[in-house]
């Protein structure tokens, strides 16, 4: 496999971007335009919006983001392991996986026990 193949990835992504830009811009040529004060106002069920939406906001899920980071990295570690699984003799690979996943599961159990998964 030459690096040539990965050019496809780049080209597809860039063309995707350009296409989306072009696509969203076509109505600029085709569509009618009207003016109105209320037209561009923020939708909030027909009432005037109360202040900006960009205020300090309590995201109850930031802890999930933290665990996610930990888990995602560890899943990435699992990828090469499963690819070469059972090439080594005996039960070494199985042991490795069991230990690794065991630690992951422990982390999960800890987070669970700590009550992260139940919103307060």
């Amino acid at each position: 496999m030459s690096s040539n193949n990965y050019i496809y990835v780049l080209v597809f992504f860039v063309v995707g971007l350009l296409f989306a830009v072009a696509f969203t811009c076509t109505p600029l040529i085709l569509s009618p335009r009207s003016r109105g004060k209320k037209k561009t106002s923020t939708y909030e069920s027909g009432e005037d919006t109360l202040g900006s939406a960009w205020v300090q906001f309590d995201v109850s899920y930031y802890l999930f983001a933290l665990i996610f980071l930990a888990f995602d990295v560890e899943v990435i570690f699992l990828f090469p392991v499963v690819l070469t699984y059972s090439i080594a003799p005996l039960l070494i690979d199985l042991l490795k996986i069991v230990i690794f996943i065991g630690i992951l599961a422990l982390a999960l159990a800890y987070a669970w026990r700590k009550g992260i998964f139940s919103w307060k």
């Binding site: 496999m1 040539n4 193949n5 496809y8 990835v9 080209v11 597809f12 992504f13 063309v15 995707g16 971007l17 296409f19 989306a20 830009v21 696509f23 969203t24 076509t26 109505p27 600029l28 085709l30 569509s31 009618p32 335009r33 037209k39 561009t40 106002s41 923020t42 939708y43 909030e44 069920s45 919006t49 900006s52 939406a53 960009w54 906001f57 995201v59 899920y61 999930f64 983001a65 996610f68 888990f71 995602d72 899943v75 699992l78 990828f79 499963v82 690819l83 699984y85 059972s86 039960l91 690979d93 199985l94 996986i97 069991v98 996943i101 992951l104 599961a105 999960l108 669970w112 998964f117």
Partner: protein, 318 residues
């Protein structure tokens, strides 16, 4: 020169396919939902109303694009584009037939996950940029949901990688020449489909747009073709997820009598149908239940499943 031609040709085909396919899927969704709900669905525009969605798309082209007064204009403009751009890339590696794949990369599966993982950035951006409180809630939810379901999605596909010993999708399909992996890995299949549903924001996991709570969630402020682009990318993600599920679990292009691509498309559309069927049956989960469902049920189950697979493979080898 030949290579350039190939790139252009594949691009044209993929773009055409994405557009037409999403319109067909919208039509299919309308028909399926109509039949489930004792209605008829589109009937008169085109054959069985097939052209109804084309007409709707044309109408969308003529709709005015509105920039809300208080929005962040740059992000607001970029959000639908960013949610659409990765769509094309994901088609690169999908093996529609024995040799019908644009680039059979050896990291194929990872590439699909990488591209589809990008989609929620666009959604979150849309939620933030609109400066609308419903949108913000929807955007926040989409982040929480996507990061939570990414893990079971990866973990469940790891089982397949373990059995096929390759990330290349065509290799995985080839490994299922005799037995599709769904029979060997039913639990992984269920986890995969569930997480894929969640990743593509479909009911019962459509909390980012939850129309009964958040009006339209992240795309409340979007109009015209910008909204259309979100729509297209959502449907295309559904299709890509079905394609990956077909390749991983349903034996891809393998099947008797018909040629490979026909089998592949049939299976993929069947999965799409199941996804729609689920959507029109179930109510929506609440945001906290949704996330805890991933962490408390899907992730432990998929960890357990990996250990089982590892054990089984080890035993079979002995």
């Amino acid at each position: 020169m030949n290579e350039l031609f190939r790139i252009i040709l594949s691009l044209v085909i993929v773009i055409g396919f994405v557009l037409i396919n999403s319109l067909v899927l919208v039509w299919l969704e309308r028909k399926v939902s109509a039949r489930i709900q004792l209605r008829r669905g589109p009937l008169y525009v085109g054959w069985f109303g097939l052209l109804q969605t084309f007409a709707d798309a044309l109408k969308m082209l003529g709709k005015e694009l509105i920039f809300p007064k208080n929005c962040d204009k740059v992000l607001y403009f970029l959000a639908p584009i960013l949610s659409f751009a990765p769509v094309l890339g994901a088609f690169l590696v999908i093996p529609f037939g024995q040799h019908l794949v644009i680039q059979d990369l050896n990291i194929g599966l990872l590439l699909v996950f990488a591209f589809s993982g990008l989609s929620f950035i666009g959604i979150f951006m849309a939620g933030w940029a609109s400066n609308n409180k419903y949108s913000l809630l929807g955007g926040m939810r989409s982040v929480a949901q996507n990061i939570s379901y990414e893990i079971p999605l990866l973990l469940s596909s790891l089982n397949i990688v373990m059995m096929a010993k390759s990330f290349r999708l065509s290799d995985i399909v080839r490994a299922q020449a005799h037995v599709p992996f769904i029979l060997l890995q039913p639990l992984a299949f269920i986890i995969f489909i569930t997480s894929a549903l969640a990743e593509s924001n479909r009911t019962p996991f459509d909390i980012p747009e939850a129309e009964s709570e958040l009006v339209a969630g992240f795309h409340t402020e979007y109009s015209g073709l910008r909204f259309g682009i979100f729509f297209i990318s959502e449907y295309t993600y559904v299709f890509i997820s079905s394609c990956v599920a077909t390749a991983l679990f349903l034996g891809g292009s393998h099947g008797p009598f018909l040629s490979g691509w026909a089998w592949f498309l049939m299976k993929a559309y069947f999965v799409v149908f199941v996804v729609m069927w689920v959507r029109w049956t179930l109510p929506r989960l609440r945001s906290d239940q949704l996330i805890t469902f991933a962490w408390k049920v899907l992730i432990p189950l998929s960890l357990f499943n990996i250990i089982c697979t590892a054990l089984a493979l080890q035993l079979l080898k002995q």
